[in-house]
Amino acid sequence: MTTPDSELPDNFGEQFLDDYFAECDEHIAAVRRHLLALDQQVGEGRIDSALLDELFRSFHTIKGISGMVGFREEEQLAHRIEDTLRAVRQGDLSVNVDSIDGLIESVALLDRRLAARRSAAPLPVIPDESAAATLPPDAAAGAAGTGPLLTFTIEFTPTLALAERGININSLRARMQEIGEILKSTPKVKGQGEISFQFQVRTHVDLMAQPEWNSEGLQTKAEPHVPDTHRPAPKVASNVVRVDLVRLDELIRIVGEMVTSRARMEDHVKQARKNLPSPEWRALIESTQTMARQLRDLRDGVMRVRMVQIGEIFDRMQFVVRDMARESGKRVIVDVVGHETEIDKFLIERLMDPLLHLVRNAVSHGLENPDERRSAGKLPEGHLTLRATAVAEKVSIEIADDGRGIDVERVAERARATGLLAPEVPLDDARLLEVICYPGFSTRAEADRESGRGVGMDVVKSTVEALTGTLSFSTQRGQGSRFCIEVPLTLALANALIVSVCGQTYAVPQSTVREVFEVDPSAVRALERNEIIAHRGNALPLFRLSKFFKLSEPNHWGRRFHVFVTGTGNNALGIAVDRIVGHQEIVVRTIGDSLVQVPGIAGATDLGDEKVVLILDVPALRRSALQERMMSVGNQA
């Protein structure tokens, strides 16, 4: 028996490091998901052996590819975990809370090692001990009982013609997994030496009633009985291609430039109207419009490639919650909604720390310990809800707890004491959020900031806003708190309103605009130093862009003007511009140089006429308006 143990010649494995890290990431994400499921199953006293198989296989693969890239310690660590899992699988080791803790720790260590490898940082030390605690064996088996289901045998005979039409094992497997569970898959040799494949599928769908399951190359038969012992086929997506985000960004940049060129072309075509016979001119216009639609499809297609499911992030949160609950003696049930919601990978990576902070806050400050909950007449288990929803061009991520809520009076007291809030101004949810997100603000000496975490509420808010998102908040004493982060689906391209103020043109990201309307100057009322207008039965504070950018031209006063509304409820603000010129898709370019960063400006774009137009930083404008309002009462006094 010879195991090659020497170093690989000319660093053969090194050229695969990108693939290696990406594949390890996928496995670790899957492992996390499976460990969570296992943890739950241990609690319920049943263990699905398929889950153990999947875990085993992930570590087996990590071991294999770590060895190839020359990462011996990671190979060893994966090997140790694999051994532990083998022992569990064979019944030599029982799974309990402690052994799962051991596994989780090992996975975290592996993850940290890989992160350090990737960034060439100092490597965390792997302790010289077994991956999981050892305990006497017990019976660990039994699949969950399910309702009445139908079982079918599907026989598939592949042919080149079918393969050319995209019908093959992988596409078929995906279709079967969509409708049910694959119980068994076996290859068979037919009379002429042809190979066919037999799948046993359990599903709620009656496949016999669907002609597509009895078409060319496919034969489906109903099975009389459901076998007891089965191993569900793992959801292997082997037709996945990995793409470097940088390459996608490049594609998106090119698509963006095409969008701009097309707009320019349409302008030229419009100008050519008088020089061209009508039919030709109309054909040209139609072509440019078709191209606009195709470009939108192309953009959407490229964008879809950048999307990842938020579930992976939520799974990580669950580990954090699990650890914190363990340490603090709190009981926390995590409810995840919208696991499959897709979000831009770039966005979610930047949102990771803010989300972690909100989750940690909810568990350590929001949720009470079981005794406190009982005496408040609540169930001892606190609920933490992680919810993601995609609406139109936006994704909203909500983190809600049913804990004690924020003591608004205490926050108000402290905010007034530190001069953050004028004495007469009431502290509504929007102002409360401003106050708790104020850098360094805390009602506790140190407890509000998890030591060493490096992120505070101020960072949460500024990160969300830097991503052109919004953070909203509501709290109710004794009922809990709820944070909601809303970000655009994607950043590189945005729909924008083009507005004009005192001869200057600006672009306003449409995701920040609720509505637009025209105002007669006589409708503006002055309230102390602020201007307000009546709108939909409420007083809408008015914020003049001309004033903010000090563009004011006196002769503009007295004319009708346009207002766009941003924010809702008490948080709504009307931003006044001279007029809204139009609506256009823009390519967002952030201004990286801090020397040229201007308050209220988020970036720049080009509207197709090769002139640079500035993009308004609406969250910053709102901040500035709110600060003015919060302090104005105090200043008057």
Partner: protein, 133 residues
């Protein structure tokens, strides 16, 4: 029924890890004009074999859905593929795994991590063309 001999040798790499597949294919680039196909599972490999003739298979053992040994047994039980060279490439270096693979009809056996040039040599010697000359 004779399998037509492919002009360019066709090597099928079967491994559930895409990174590992890339490594294997890269290691075997030195074979020259060889066509590679990749399969991420045993079933996929068998499907591929029915659609296009192959000259050699590099086979992982621990794979989902269908273990490498099962693939091997199936291949050997089929008249068309009885003589197909199959190189088992696995992280399992123990004697039991080796003898199981040999008993199931593996032509050769190599453990991971593998040396690129060793795999290349091994495969070169098993390809039909080199045998004929």
């Amino acid at each position: 029924m004779l399998r037509p001999l492919a002009k360019t040798a066709h090597v099928l790499v079967v491994d559930d890890s895409p990174t590992m597949r890339r490594m294997i294919v890269t290691a075997l680039r030195g074979l020259g004009s060889v066509k590679f196909s990749e399969a991420g599972s045993g079933l996929e490999a068998l499907e591929l074999m029915t659609l296009t003739p192959i000259d050699l298979m590099v086979l992982d053992l621990n794979m989902p859905e269908m273990h490498g040994i099962e693939v091997l047994q199936f291949v050997r039980a089929h008249s068309t593929y009885r003589r197909l060279p199959v190189v088992v490439l696995t992280t399992r270096g123990d004697e039991a795994s080796r003898s199981e693979a040999a008993a199931s009809g593996a032509t050769d056996y190599m453990t991971k991590p593998f040396q690129a040039h060793e795999l290349l040599e091994l495969v070169r010697n098993l390809l039909p063309q080199s045998k004929e000359t």
